[in-house]
């Protein structure tokens, strides 16, 4: 059970940051994950008055505030156009509409959850994560931060790079956690592929050995997919074992590549 002694609506990021340095204080996102924990929290720090629930656009990027809900992200027309609908595909399988109205981008990324659909997609979009104290980090640098990092995720920047993006996931049953997630981005003949829910957090692969150098065909897509399935590290949990995940990986990567090529 989660108990909270004190609730503070932060009036500034500085105040939120100062408060979150104490071990027994926590930052609230949508609280969906926090709520599942057995934890006695001294002060819950709410960022809801800091205007972080907006998605803004500049000529070269989208900036997504930490308190933007997953539902808002899923329905954003600009991000949908940029990724050819990959955001909706990645998010719409997460539990239900009410859940996604409650869950936040900040909480979803800060948790760096192994099962995360959200993280898997942001990885291939070369997103930059802006933390209050650590500043602007690549998503890889952010993922590598120690688990006990005490900072505030302020916003996420997604560059408007023209890419073909495809997101696919496999679930044992609708609305359950994914058994495997896969995001592919094609840009200027280069391919970036993220595999998540292994059940470890998303990792990226590129075409190091040039399997796709003569183009994406059913054969080269299958070979690339097999290569990733061999290279990626998988684990087992109650949802699936290593071998099953490996097989699903080869199928999802192949399908995603062919879909990305078709445009």
């Amino acid at each position: 059970m989660l108990t909270i002694n004190q609730y503070v609506r932060a009036e500034s990021l500085e105040q939120a940051y100062e408060l979150c340095q104490k071990k027994r204080n926590v930052v609230l996102g949508g609280m969906l994950w926090l709520k599942m924990q057995h934890r006695n929290v001294e002060t819950a720090i709410d960022l809801c008055d800091l205007g972080l629930d907006q998605i803004t656009e500049t000529s070269d990027s989208y900036t997504i505030g930490a308190m933007v809900s997953l539902r808002t992200l899923e329905q954003h027309a600009g991000l949908a156009a940029l990724t050819q609908g990959a955001f909706a595909e990645a998010l719409s399988h997460i539990v239900g509409v009410q859940f996604r109205n409650t869950a936040t981008v900040g909480g979803s990324l800060f948790g760096r959850f192994g099962f995360s659909d959200v993280l898997t997609l942001f990885v291939v979009l070369d997103a930059k994560i802006e933390l209050y104290h650590h500043g602007m980090l690549s998503i890889a640098e952010f993922c590598a931060l120690p688990r006990n990092t005490r900072d505030i995720l302020v916003q996420v920047h997604v560059p408007k790079t023209q890419k073909r993006v495809v997101y696919l996931s496999q679930r044992n049953s609708a609305t359950d956690f994914p058994v495997l997630t896969c995001a592919v981005a094609l840009q200027d003949g280069n391919c970036q592929c993220a595999i998540g829910a292994r059940p470890l957090a998303a990792v990226t692969f590129t075409d190091e050995t040039g399997i796709l150098q003569n183009g994406i065909t059913p054969e080269s897509a299958a070979a690339f997919a097999q290569n990733i399935a061999q290279k990626a590290e998988f684990g087992k949990d109650i949802r699936a074992g290593v071998e099953y995940r490996k097989r699903v990986c080869a199928v999802l990567v192949r399908r995603a590549l062919l879909q990305a090529k078709e445009g």
């Binding site: 002694n5 609730y7 609230l28 609280m31 969906l32 709520k35 599942m36 539990v95 009410q98």
Partner: protein, 154 residues
Amino acid sequence: MQIQMTLNQKKITAEIEADTLLLDFVRDHGCLSVKRGCETANCGLCTVLLDGVPVLSCSTLAARATGHHVQTLEGLQAEAEEFVGFIADQGAEQCGFCNPGFVMNTIALLRENPTPTDDEIRAYLAGNLCRCSGYDGQLRGIRAYLDWKEAQAK
């Protein structure tokens, strides 16, 4: 701590604990239609509208609702009445425990998308679990309501 919110059009001020859940708060204020189901953000039974948006009250602090408008089925009877009879006509439910959350989310769906397809209805209501039925009856009920509405408009 003290909070103020509008609950079903009525302004209220109350003293609460910092970790009071919105679910417990609205139930303590007479809104017993809001049910505690899974309490792990999976079932949708605790759905309320926060500034018109359906959210899970089992995972939302009452403190966060300060300054906002919360609506439960108690405050949305007229809007619900339009279509709940169609669901009942299909014999869609057995114990009925899931019904209020289901109706709340259907209200949100129809406000957002007044003419949904069957797939859109299924997708929108995916977060509302029913352990008695197979969901088909509810879908048929909403479809029958939409067909009736369309016929009325002609």
